[in-house]
């Protein structure tokens, strides 16, 4: 396991921000840390990088304890903090050279590695520009270039697309997607589409606790029963009766429109009733022109899980882009 968190806990004064979080991330995984504002994502990440000491619990990166072996841990991580702090007075290439030096990129590979990262992040045209004058999207890419400079085992990115316009969000996500081919990535976000787009595993954190840990697909599978929509031609009475009798069907709602009937079939949790519906249609000689299963989006899942926290809702709504 490359990243291990065991019962990580953090108090700010008497306020409990992170409440005994445990998880582990294996090599090559791309994991999203998802949660509403104030859930404790940044706090968790800061404890993982060793920037903030945990009040309780331990974190290990590549087998090294972040407290006892802080320097060694830092050799394994490429970290882009929230808000991507940079030195505004420096030029892009000069900044990357400084960072490569600090991170101990071997001298003979330094120059070529810097140029490689500049190319990978498409910041060639601003390589000589003063960072303070860059647009936010470019600054974000400079931060990403910095995070990947020393070819770290783990990339930890705290809200890398915050404050970007949709085009730049797509660009940065594509970049992260490329990174995930070679690195283990932990990315925090409260944008659900982002986690769905780039992560193969999602940890949902709310109120300092992990409330779900699974693939985006499995999460929606597990938590919401995907309703099936069928469009049929046949006797509505019979259709309703037959569909209701199928195994695993909880309820059927039938709407009639110009000869075609649209049935919404709600199955029992976890059941996939598409095949049964198809067989029933064949058996009864109905004509069938659509059979789809609506997969719950991560958004729905997130909403459900963090429901009961009224302040979580606007955060979710605001991020629908």
């Amino acid at each position: 396991m490359l990243v291990e968190a065991e019962n990580l806990t953090r108090y700010y004064g008497s306020f409990l921000a992170v409440d005994g979080i445990s998880f582990s991330i294996g090599r090559g995984e791309v994991v999203g840390l998802l949660g509403p504002n104030g859930a404790g994502k940044t706090t968790t990440i800061r404890m993982l990088t060793g920037f903030l000491p945990a009040s309780d619990g331990t974190a290990r990166i590549a087998g090294c304890d972040v407290r006892e072996n802080a320097i060694e841990v830092r050799r394994h991580i490429g970290y882009m903090p929230e808000n991507n702090p940079l030195y505004p007075e420096m030029r892009t290439r000069e900044y990357l050279a400084f960072r490569a030096n600090l991170k101990g990129v071997p001298r003979r590979r330094r120059r070529s590695r810097i140029e490689e990262c500049i190319r990978l992040c498409s910041i060639e045209e601003v390589a000589g520009q003063i960072i303070g004058t860059l647009s936010k999207g470019y600054r974000q890419r400079v931060g990403l270039a910095d995070a990947m400079l020393a070819e770290p085992d783990v990339l930890i990115l705290d809200e890398p697309t915050i404050g970007l316009d949709p085009n730049q969000i797509r660009e940065v996500r594509r970049l992260i997607g490329n990174l995930s081919e070679r690195h283990t990535v932990l990315i925090s976000t409260h944008i659900l589409a982002e986690a769905e787009a780039v992560c193969r595993r999602v940890l949902i954190i709310d109120d300092g606790r992990i409330v779900a840990d699974d693939t985006p697909a499995a999460l929606s599978e597990r938590l919401l029963h995907g309703a099936v929509t069928v469009e049929l031609k046949g006797d509505p009475q019979q259709i309703r009766a037959e569909l209701c009798r199928l195994d695993g069907v909880r309820s059927v709602h039938l709407a009639d429109s110009t000869g075609w009937h649209t049935a919404s079939v709600t199955p029992e949790t976890g059941a996939d009733v598409r095949e049964a519906i198809f067989r029933a249609a064949a058996r009864n000689g109905w004509r069938l022109r659509e059979l789809t299963r609506s997969r719950a989006s991560l958004e729905d899942v997130f909403h459900r899980i963090t429901l009961g926290r009224p302040e979580a809702e606007p955060a979710v709504a605001a991020q629908e882009n």
Binding site: P81, P88, M90, R99
Partner: protein
């Protein structure tokens, strides 16, 4: 320790990219030059005038040191770059020494007018090399100490101006101890004198190198740098 020059270089380039640095450089050169030429006007002999050049620096440093050091750590905490900095394989000690060296090198550039003045005095008459070298050694030690105090203040607050004001206040206090300790006899006054930087510095300016004075500066500078390292380490716990 390999990271010290990396940090020092960045600090230096950052100094020379900020307008504040040029204000300090010209401010120092102008005020030092004016005070120096006032002394020339009274036609004292070159060796006395050299002493005078070091003596006036003592006071200009009270203003210059806090301004030079205020941004060193405060700016990093304020902008959040402390987080990117302290998550690279660099130790707090390397960061503190690197930044300290950066400020010290910048101060050396600031002192160039003094070198010019001493060379100029050589044309007016004979200047003893020994006292001048002693003066520069004292200047180096004093500057190190004052910068270490400023650096500590910078590590204690994220507001640059607050950092400058606190270190200015501390420096004024330290100088004031010198005045308090000078007139009166007795143990208390002696202790006050002994703890104040100017009391040791003027010995160097006069051309006297005493190991006790050297030790005073080395120990206090080390102490303030150590406290700065501790402040950086303890920052996490706040």
């Amino acid at each position: 320790m390999v990271n010290i020059p990396v940090i020092t270089r960045r600090e230096l380039s950052s100094y020379f990219l900020s307008p504040m640095a040029y204000v300090v450089l010209t401010g120092f050169a102008l005020s030092h030059g004016i005070l120096f030429s006032l002394g020339i006007g009274s036609r004292i002999e070159p060796n006395m005038q050299a002493y005078y050049a070091f003596y006036i620096t003592l006071f200009l440093l009270i203003l210059a040191a806090p301004v030079l050091t205020m941004r060193l750590v405060s700016e990093e905490t304020n902008q959040g770059t402390i987080e990117t900095l302290m998550t690279t394989p660099v130790t707090e000690l390397e960061v503190v020494i690197g930044k300290f060296m950066g400020a010290l090198v910048f101060a050396a550039v600031m002192f160039l007018p003094i070198v010019v003045q001493v060379v100029y005095l050589r044309f007016l008459g004979p200047v003893d090399v020994g006292p001048v070298l002693a003066g520069f050694l004292g200047l180096f030690l004093l500057t190190g100490q004052l910068l270490a105090i400023g650096l500590l203040c910078s590590a204690l607050t994220r507001v640059q101006i607050a950092s400058a004001i606190i270190s200015f206040a501390i420096l004024i206090g330290l100088y004031f101890m010198w005045y308090l300790g000078q007139g009166s006899p007795g143990m208390g006054a002696a202790v006050l004198r002994y703890l104040s930087p100017p009391w040791h510095y003027v010995n160097f300016a006069k051309g006297v190198v005493d190991t006790r004075d050297v030790a005073y500066f080395v120990i206090t500078t080390g102490l303030f740098l150590f406290l700065t390292v501790r402040a950086l380490q303890l920052r996490k716990w706040r």
